[in-house]
Symmetry: C2
Subunit: 353 residues, 2 copies
Amino acid sequence: MRTSLKKSITLSDVAKTAGVTSMTVSRVVNQNGYVSEETREKVLRVVKELNYRRNGLARGLKRQRTDTVGLVLGDIANPYSAELARSIRDVTTERGYNLFICISEHSGKEDVAAFESLTDHQVDGIIVATRSNRMGDEYLHEMIERGVPVVCVGRDFHDENADTVTADALNGGFQATQHLIDLGHKKIAFIGATLSSGQNLKRFQGYLQALKANNLKIDERLMTGNTEANDDAPGYSTEKLGYEAMKRLLALPNRPTAVFARNDFTAIGAINAIKESGLKIPSDISIVGFDDIPMAMHTYPALTTVRQPTRRQGTLAAEFLLRRVESKAPVELEEKVLECELIVRDSTAQLKR
Amino acid sequence: MRTSLKKSITLSDVAKTAGVTSMTVSRVVNQNGYVSEETREKVLRVVKELNYRRNGLARGLKRQRTDTVGLVLGDIANPYSAELARSIRDVTTERGYNLFICISEHSGKEDVAAFESLTDHQVDGIIVATRSNRMGDEYLHEMIERGVPVVCVGRDFHDENADTVTADALNGGFQATQHLIDLGHKKIAFIGATLSSGQNLKRFQGYLQALKANNLKIDERLMTGNTEANDDAPGYSTEKLGYEAMKRLLALPNRPTAVFARNDFTAIGAINAIKESGLKIPSDISIVGFDDIPMAMHTYPALTTVRQPTRRQGTLAAEFLLRRVESKAPVELEEKVLECELIVRDSTAQLKR
DNA sequence: TAATCTTCTGTTATCGTTCACATACGTTTC
DNA sequence: GAAACGTATGTGAACGATAACAGAAGATTA
């Protein structure tokens, strides 16, 4: 038996059955305005009996708000995305908003599709955590121009009416490299350099700056770049990249004594390559990752890495967004950059001399 | 300068400016009905000029459908969820539907909240991929009763009006264990037994059945259970569980020669414990995982595991859902069980004698 | 030539809810 | 005892879009 084609119960269905007007039922359901205890009970009984559910479309249309915000994620498989989504949801839930997530993993076209489907549904605001790209960014500016509250997270973007929250990846990269330098390392490789802009580039720049600040030689052979794997590849897929890059680095006549990998997945791949070669971590080679994914503390040896304050990024972004959503007046621009933290575990050690 | 409080442009704003009625504009925007080329161009010009966007709420309200489906995910950090979401999205996108994702990671209460926010917004149907639980299931039945098309994926649930798609985890567990038995192993441990029902239990049951079918002794000391970590913990967190369980198994006077882990994360944890103990994989100990997460092929040694056809589950679920959404007539129940596939890599080998 | 069809546009009502206002009665206050 | 207030309900319009129908002009057919 199929029930799907039942017409749905409306406020006035309930009203009719309860012998009141729909306005009264509305008041009961939304718990505002005056309703006598007697009427309230009667209405609630009928609501239950008919299994009434309010129609959010009609409600949203009339109220001109939906109490819903959207989140657009690139790379849903990344633990970073997962934690970001969770932390955002915690805030939105607490403040009485629903959170709808859309994925856009490949192209600006998908970004636009996600933005459109969310604005179509009149979400009250949107948090954007995709990789930045021309087409998506253009549409973002348009949306903002149209008045949609927008906050960007962990992503390059600038608009005088959109807040941003990012981690200081440059300084994070600097810290990681400085840590290796402090341990006496001089031949420090970088795995996963990328030509495109964005957060990954910043990590690499931090590495370069640290080398320069310490007057170390910058050796291009020690920097493995982004060749076949494109930059949009999901995080975990870079493990293979790390494995292969490390193989190449180990084959160098003058192999590095330390490695800084663009992210933990890459680092894990590198660790596997090192183990396979018979070298020991950290006594023969030190390695540092980036992101502090949950697995980082469980690798063997436990991975030294740079933690970006993901949860804080999420909660801040959500708060910035809701501030815009709820404000009647113009809102001042927020562009928050959060500090990264070096987490020293067992994969790095003093250089043997 | 803040633009958010601009009132938004409606159909009739466009109509007024273009000197036609809103009906004509609607026809242009939706590309249906007759409109002269001249009028169409004029309207499109005004649409662009005013930056008009249609209001999906009003549209959905009138049309009684939103061309949107919802997906409720438990454990967003799990690669399985990511791939499921992607495959579902591929289908919905191609068929002209938007996909909104909600997360419900902890409780039945969160399930219900997710269901409510989706039905509130009048999605045309919902795909459910959370862990089953009493409260959530009850509400699901209610929703289905109310006529909301529902499909469940990878999850225990039965309702004569909701399709289900699952992988045959029992047979998967059986295959994994049989593989180890075929390699000559007799002392086969299981890591991550769980008392609660669900897919994880099935894997364990498959293990037990394979032992029985081969007349092997069932040794409870070789089955590490679900003690501190609760069953709702996200997938990756079980790596620690695997590490600790393996430590315990290695300390047994008569240690196992093979291990079947409830999932790949657990297996990776176990691998780390084994390596740490100085034993070699697979020559000293064979290990099999479950899920074939992307990282499984990158571990060292590459992990033998059981692959569930995640992508197929997603596309089937989406197709089943849209079939229900688009059908005017009653729909026959589908309860699809897909076969798992054993992926033999390098972490399993013939028992040394 | 009349009847029919095709093309184009407009009119009206409606989707389900809530806002703003109106009404009515009882209670307080000075 | 009249003005003011609190409580309880109802009325009508509106949110922005579209389905259904209607009308008018030109093209085609019988």
